[in-house]
């Protein structure tokens, strides 16, 4: 199997050399051999001992092509599955670009004010709305140049992380 660690742009290979017992296997990671002992798995989390160290990993996001995981006590990482396959899809498909028109909120919060209007021209970095969350005010900024086609938020409303804010074309 092959995974791409998006944050550092590196590809890592892992394969099972030998299954030793129901929970222990010998694996090859980037040419190096390790003993992998799985302690538990429950869909959201896995615990295992790799080499001789214990790890607890949480699967924060999981889509057919990407996942975001966190090694407990360490950083979280975004990973692409099947990186070669994706490259092919990406170059042949245009529909993916379409989703990039939507500005999404990077944080959850209450909409304090909306600084943009429909049909307004904006530049990348222009403030579209101000959210309040945990006594902090955070600006949501345009992710690209374009014209506001639609505003999906209203003042005083609550939005979640990744909720649609505005369609910019």
């Amino acid at each position: 199997m092959e995974f791409k660690l998006e944050d550092i742009g590196e590809i890592v290979n892992i394969d099972i050399i030998k299954r030793i017992s129901s929970e222990v296997a010998l694996v090859n990671i980037n040419g190096k051999e390790y003993l992998l002992r799985i302690i538990s798995y429950d869909g959201d989390k896995a615990e295992f001992i790799l080499g001789n160290s214990y790890y607890n990993v949480k699967y924060i996001e999981n889509t057919p092509t990407h996942m975001k995981i966190q090694i407990i006590g360490k950083e979280s990482v975004t990973i692409s599955k099947y990186p070669h396959l994706q490259k092919i899809i990406k170059s042949s498909s245009a529909s993916l670009v379409d989703t990039e028109k939507m500005l999404r909120s990077p944080i959850p919060g209450r909409v304090v004010s909306i600084e943009a209007k429909p049909e307004m021209s904006v530049k990348k970095g222009d403030v579209i709305a101000i959210l309040e969350s945990m006594k902090m005010r955070v600006a949501i900024k345009a992710h690209k140049d374009g014209v506001i086609k639609e505003l999906r938020i209203k003042e005083g409303g609550n939005i979640s992380r990744n909720d649609a804010v505005a369609l910019i074309e």
């Binding site: 199997m1 995974f3 660690l5 944050d7 550092i8 590196e10 890592v12 290979n13 892992i14 099972i16 299954r19 129901s22 929970e23 296997a25 694996v27 990671i29 980037n30 190096k32 390790y34 992998l36 799985i38 302690i39 538990s40 798995y41 429950d42 869909g43 896995a46 295992f48 790799l50 080499g51 790890y55 990993v57 949480k58 699967y59 999981n62 996942m67 995981i69 090694i71 407990i72 006590g73 360490k74 950083e75 990482v77 990973i79 599955k81 990077p106 944080i107 959850p108 919060g109 209450r110 969350s133 945990m134 006594k135 902090m136 955070v138």
Partner: protein, 503 residues
């Protein structure tokens, strides 16, 4: 003790802290809570709990009417305000006084005078306490301003009396620039307010923030409980506090400490307070900037090095008791560090993070104390500030304290919320911090946020093998419709693992 029941006009970790103090003193305690806090730890721990309104603080924790009403209804004879919310609201203190409820803090009158920064500086000056060199009061004349600037030496700060929160402050390098800026700023101010109203203040290129803990009782006994070093800040928010300060020697400590006790005498200041200073890193001189007439977030570091319980002292003083120790009985014992753990993402411009917490493991061990409102399955509300836990470490030396803090940060685990723990881990191991080379511009000067992000990339590289293993395990199970392959627990009391997928 004439106090029998205390209403806690606050939430979060400080409400929990106050409940613990009440229990040690055998005083009943009453919690109040908003909608979002109905499941909060302070509600669970308190003797009584009253719902006080919607999540918005204006309609709950800041609603003076409702709070006074609950105090009366529950028979509370005192109110502890914690920090933030109504803790420095002189009007609220007055209302408590009128309702014959003991406000655990200074009198309304003292709170008003402590709140007037100009007046406090004047008073301090008259007592021989150094304050930041500045023009005596408001200037409307550019010649006077230039005169002061020459006296202090350039650069100087030109400040508008109508500014606030960083607005209307200009750093001025020479007289020509001073005259230009004075014109510009006074024009704006005159248009709005009818007069120029400017100050000139000496500028220090590099400062530390050092504050002294003060307590004083109704019988005129004032004590200082040493100082805290709060220089590690990000955008004027304190991140890490130390006690004692590594740059304050015994002589300075005693000199400044004695001075602030005199200042408290002059104000007839009663209860706990903090006198804030800046320290010019060139000269090593301290200059008073303001008084905070409440308990500070960072009070635990003082408790750790003085072995005094500030909450219990606050309550005892409010009940009219004398402080039960003399200044000379106080000795600094060891070294304490506090890391403020915020629900913010240090890798995403400190964006707030809130919601349901699934699991949480609060660190323990020798010298570790954690003040927090977190518990498994609790929630972090978006309505209140992002401070979720304070990890406090104690050691005989700075090094021991620092190493224990690193242990604790490594053991801290929370699932569901993003926290600033990685930032604290980075700083605890950062060279300048370890050497004690800190100042209020530490975070920018040493490019901490950028280096933290670079460190993250290095960590990811280091754990490539672990990440690959985790991905592989997940994909194996996803391929089988997310079935759970590892049985965890059987009645027999043993882990039985039946690993369904053939790896």
């Amino acid at each position: 003790m004439k106090i029998k029941k205390i209403l806690i006009a606050n939430r979060g970790e400080i409400a929990v802290r106050i409940i613990r103090a009440c229990r040690e003193l055998g005083i009943k305690n009453v919690a109040i809570y908003s909608d979002d806090d109905s499941n909060a730890l302070h509600v669970k721990l308190a003797d009584e709990s009253y719902h006080i309104g919607p999540s918005n603080a204006k309609e709950s924790y800041l609603d003076q009417n409702k709070i006074i009403e609950v105090a009366k209804k529950s028979g509370a004879d005192a109110i502890h305000p914690g920090y933030g919310f109504l803790s420095e609201n002189a009007e609220f203190v007055e209302r408590c006084e009128r309702s014959s409820i003991i406000f655990i803090g200074p009198k309304s009158e003292t709170m008003r005078s402590s709140g007037d920064k100009m007046a406090i500086k004047q008073l301090a000056k008259s007592l021989g306490i150094p304050v930041v060199p500045a023009s005596d009061g408001i200037l409307d004349d550019v010649e006077k301003a230039a005169e002061f600037a020459r006296e202090f030496g350039y650069p100087v700060l030109l400040k508008s009396a109508f500014g606030g929160g960083g607005r209307g402050i200009r750093l001025v390098q020479n007289e020509e620039q001073l005259r230009q800026e004075f014109e510009l700023t006074t024009m704006e101010a005159k248009a709005s307010y009818g007069r120029a109203a400017m100050f000139v203040e000496k500028y220090f290129p590099r400062i530390r923030h050092i504050e002294f803990q003060l307590i004083r009782d109704m019988h005129g006994n004032g004590r200082y409980l040493f100082e805290r070093e709060c220089s590690i800040q990000r955008r004027y928010q304190k991140l890490i506090e130390l006690a004692p300060s590594p740059v304050i020697d015994e002589e300075t400590r005693h000199k400044i400490g004695s001075m602030i006790v005199k200042l408290a005498d002059a104000l007839d200041y009663i209860n706990a307070g903090t006198v804030e200073f800046i320290r010019d890193e060139n000269s090593g001189n301290l200059y008073l900037i303001e008084i905070n007439s409440r308990l500070q977030v960072e009070h635990p570091v003082t408790e750790m090095i003085s072995n005094k319980d500030l909450l219990k002292l606050q309550i005892s003083i409010a009940a009219g008791n004398e402080i039960p120790f003399k200044q000379e009985d106080l000795k600094i014992n060891g070294f304490a560090i506090e890391c403020r753990i915020n629900a913010e993402d240090p890798f995403n411009d400190f964006a707030p993070s809130y919601g349901k917490v699934n699991d949480v493991i609060i660190p323990h061990g020798p010298g570790i104390r954690v003040d927090t409102y977190l518990y498994p399955s609790c929630t972090v509300s978006s309505y209140y500030d992002s401070l979720i836990a304070k990890i406090i470490s104690w050691g005989n030396t700075f090094e021991e304290s620092r190493k224990r803090m690193i242990n604790a940060l490594n053991e801290f685990y929370i699932d569901g919320i993003i926290t600033t723990v990685p930032l604290h881990k980075f700083i605890m191991n950062e060279e300048a911090f370890v050497k004690g080379d800190i100042s209020t511009d530490y975070i920018t000067r040493y490019n901490i946020i950028k280096r933290l992000e670079d460190g993250r990339r290095d960590n990811i590289k280091m754990y490539k093998d672990v990440i690959a293993s985790a991905c592989m395990i997940n994909i194996m199970y996803e391929g089988r419709g997310k079935r759970i392959g590892v049985e965890r627990w059987k009645e027999s009391g043993r882990f039985l693992r039946s690993f369904g997928y053939g790896i």
